[in-house]
């Protein structure tokens, strides 16, 4: 099935696959910049409808255009607006049109084109892109339907496959393991040893996982206080470390200590104090902060950074195994969208519109006396032709391809032309 020829969706983008980080930084848009760019593109006549998707790994401009000239115009616009070298932009961009562009958007929404396969954030970013375009007045029915369909494809892929189910980030894996021991983490306590980059990441993730008031212990108390303040946690002095361990259900350690900070003796004492309640220890430090033999203590679950990285690799493979099913779902959603779009051609719409009026005419004629039907039929046909004359001329004569699709869609909706016969 080919996409409607009246207007072709075009996509110009820069992604991690072809563009270096310098280019991606240059073409990254904030929400305000997206609004501004869309307004300027629209007012400058470069696009009539458009949506910009901008994430850490990609910036993509979707628009309706009559031909491939949009590519040059858009690259020029971005180059001038952001002060970037046009040749470099052209060398690192990718361009898709028609069905290929639709498929690309659906795959992006499904997380199939992401650096972390199946990641969920991109679905929200696609949804937000549509919302920003709507605020800027650069989407109408067709573009709206395109993005809604992409979001629907993304949702289906995530609910019908395992592609987004297995976490890939080390903090997510750590807290998934914790949740498989403790269930709801909001009722449990987390102790983070070390307020460096990894410790901060885990502390923030703990809050996202529902943990209330994580406790931060760091050699430099002020850094612990700083991190605790930023996540509504509690800072504890370094000297209290041994006292804090028994109070925590999950202990995360990420320091650069050359010796074990949490020894078997500390853990055994903690378990006595905890009366045997389970405890999880996540050691993210190299060299280790937590003695390896603590895993032999009853009801202690201890994992090193290597364990978590192994799970990440396994999860990556599990996600990859779901790709064929996900691609099949994308194809199904793509076909549904293209079938809808195919119906938006002017000629079949006009034919169906006329047929619908003829049906209505025949219904009315059935109520008239048989002797007068022929005469009335001629009258009603002439009346219908008069009524249709101007709208059909305007529909056929519309120069703006996106607006033409939009109007065809309006006619189909108003006269219910998509209902099953």
């Amino acid at each position: 099935m080919s996409i409607s020829q009246e207007a072709r969706l075009s996509l110009l983008g820069w992604s991690f696959r072809g563009a270096g980080v310098t280019v991606r930084e240059g073409v990254a848009f904030t929400a305000d910049e997206i609004r501004e760019a869309l307004t300027r593109l629209s007012k400058g006549g470069v696009i009539s409808e458009g949506v910009i998707v901008s994430t850490c790994h990609r910036s993509e401009i979707y628009s309706f255009a009559a031909d491939d000239s949009a590519r040059g115009a858009l690259t020029r616009f971005v180059s001038e607006w952001r002060g970037l070298d046009q040749a470099e932009l052209e060398g690192s961009c990718f361009y898709r049109a028609g069905e290929d562009a639709v498929r690309h958007l659906f795959r992006v929404a499904a997380g199939l084109d992401s650096l972390a396969l199946g990641e969920s954030e991109v679905l929200g970013q696609v949804r937000q892109a549509l919302s920003l375009a709507r605020e800027s007045g650069t989407t109408r029915a067709v573009m709206h339907r395109l993005f809604e369909s992409a979001v629907a494809a993304g949702k289906r892929v995530r609910s019908e496959t395992e592609i987004a189910r297995h976490p890939l980030s080390i903090p997510s894996i750590g807290f998934e393991l914790a949740m498989k021991v403790f269930g709801d983490l909001s009722k449990h306590r987390v102790l983070v040893i070390g307020a460096g980059e990894t410790g901060s990441l885990f502390a923030r993730h703990a809050v996202e996982a529902g943990v209330r008031e994580p406790v931060i212990v760091n050699r430099t108390f002020s850094r612990a206080e700083e991190l605790a303040a930023s996540i509504r946690g509690r800072a504890a002095p370094w000297d209290d470390l041994v006292r804090e361990v028994p109070l925590a259900d999950v202990v995360v350690s990420a320091t650069s200590s050359p010796v074990h900070l949490v020894t078997r003796a500390i853990v055994e004492a903690a378990m006595r104090e905890r009366r045997g309640r389970p405890m999880m220890l996540l050691d993210l430090a190299v060299p280790r902060d937590i003695a390896p033999d603590v895993q032999d203590v009853y009801n202690v679950y201890s994992y090193s950074i290597d364990d978590l990285e192994d799970v990440a690799k396994e999860n990556q493979s599990r996600r990859a195994r779901e790709v064929p099913v996900a691609e099949k779902i994308v194809q199904e959603e793509l076909e549904t969208y293209l079938a809808w779009l195919g119906n938006l051609s002017v000629v079949p719409t006009v034919t169906q519109w006329r047929r619908r009026l003829e049906e209505l005419r025949d219904l009315e004629l059935e109520r008239a006396p048989a002797s007068e039907r022929e005469k009335l039929k001629g009258l009603l046909d002439a009346f219908a032709a008069r009524i249709l004359f101007e709208p059909l001329n305007r529909l056929k004569g519309e120069d703006d391809p996106a607006r033409k699709l939009d109007r065809v869609e309006a006619v189909r909706h108003l006269f219910d032309l998509d209902k099953e016969p």
Binding site: S159, M179, K180, V181, G183, G276, R277, P278, D310, V311
Partner: protein, 268 residues
């Protein structure tokens, strides 16, 4: 209603509930409610079927092997619903419902013809003694299955195996809570059954039997010890193993003790 049509429809509903809970395990976004609703509907129909049997034999239908199996299956279903409503954990459904199906089906397939009723086994106290015992054993059966699930999930956590079963099985804390609930139910009703049985035996036989009573008291002691230790921090693998030991004792009591040491008290 000799065909036990209602009983078979109930089994059909249990099978549908099992299929649905497996589906909801694979596709986590399907609503949870239909599973318990199907079980509830099955329980209502199976109750009517048991009621018809009871009216026909003028007794709670545990006096035939088929009737007692049906009653056991029904009690399992009831225990399952109690666990689901108490813990809101649907992921255990696919592992527990097969036992409801198995025993309810066996009940319908095994002989239903009632032997001549011994006059000394008439009366409410005896009926309650047997009914409570069956409910207790149903609850302990689930504590056994849940303990196996606990050990499986615990092993997966220890070996860092994070596959499909790992992601679908509930948290250890949740399974542990369900073991506690089912053991508490079992202990309470089996305790009541033993007390009623002792009073009844004193009244009817004039003596306290027997090896089977000894096995029942030992079972109660094991499960009582389990709950006591559980409250004192023995949570985890050891509690699960103790629960399995308790269930082994029940099987021992039902087979070896029942057939070789308990002439009057034999359940045949």
């Amino acid at each position: 209603m000799d065909s036990h049509l209602l009983g078979w429809v109930a089994v059909g509903l249990y099978v549908a509930a099992e299929a649905y809970t497996i589906l909801s395990l694979v596709r986590t976004r399907v609503p949870a409610l239909p599973g318990p609703l199907l079980i509830g509907a099955g329980l209502a129909l199976q109750f009517l079927d048991l009621e018809l049997s009871a009216r026909a034999m003028h007794s709670v239908p545990y006096k035939t092997i088929g009737g007692s199996m049906s009653l056991f299956g029904w009690m399992l279903g009831l225990s399952y619903l109690a666990l689901i409503f108490r813990h809101r954990e649907r992921a255990v459904g696919p592992f527990l419902i097969p036992f409801v199906i198995l025993f309810s089906t066996l009940g319908l397939l095994l002989p239903q013809a009632a032997p001549a009723v011994r006059p000394d086994t008439r009366g409410t106290m005896f009926a309650l003694h047997v009914t409570f015992a069956i409910l207790g054993y149903a609850a302990f059966t689930f504590s056994f299955v849940l303990s196996l699930l606990y050990l499986i999930q615990n092993r997966q956590l220890r070996k860092v195996r994070t596959g499909l079963l790992f992601s679908r099985l509930p948290a250890l804390d949740s399974i542990g809570g369900m073991i506690r609930t089912s053991v508490s139910i079992g202990l309470t009703v089996l305790g009541a059954s033993v007390v009623l049985g002792v009073i009844w035996a004193e009244r009817v036989w004039g003596t306290l039997p027997d090896a089977k009573l000894g096995a029942a008291i030992l079972t109660l002691a094991v499960y009582g010890f389990l709950l006591w230790k559980d409250r004192r921090g023995w949570v985890g693998e050891r509690v699960a193993l103790l629960s399995i030991l308790g269930f082994a004792l029940i099987l021992f009591s039902y087979t070896f003790v029942n057939f070789y040491f308990s002439a009057e008290h034999a359940f045949k």
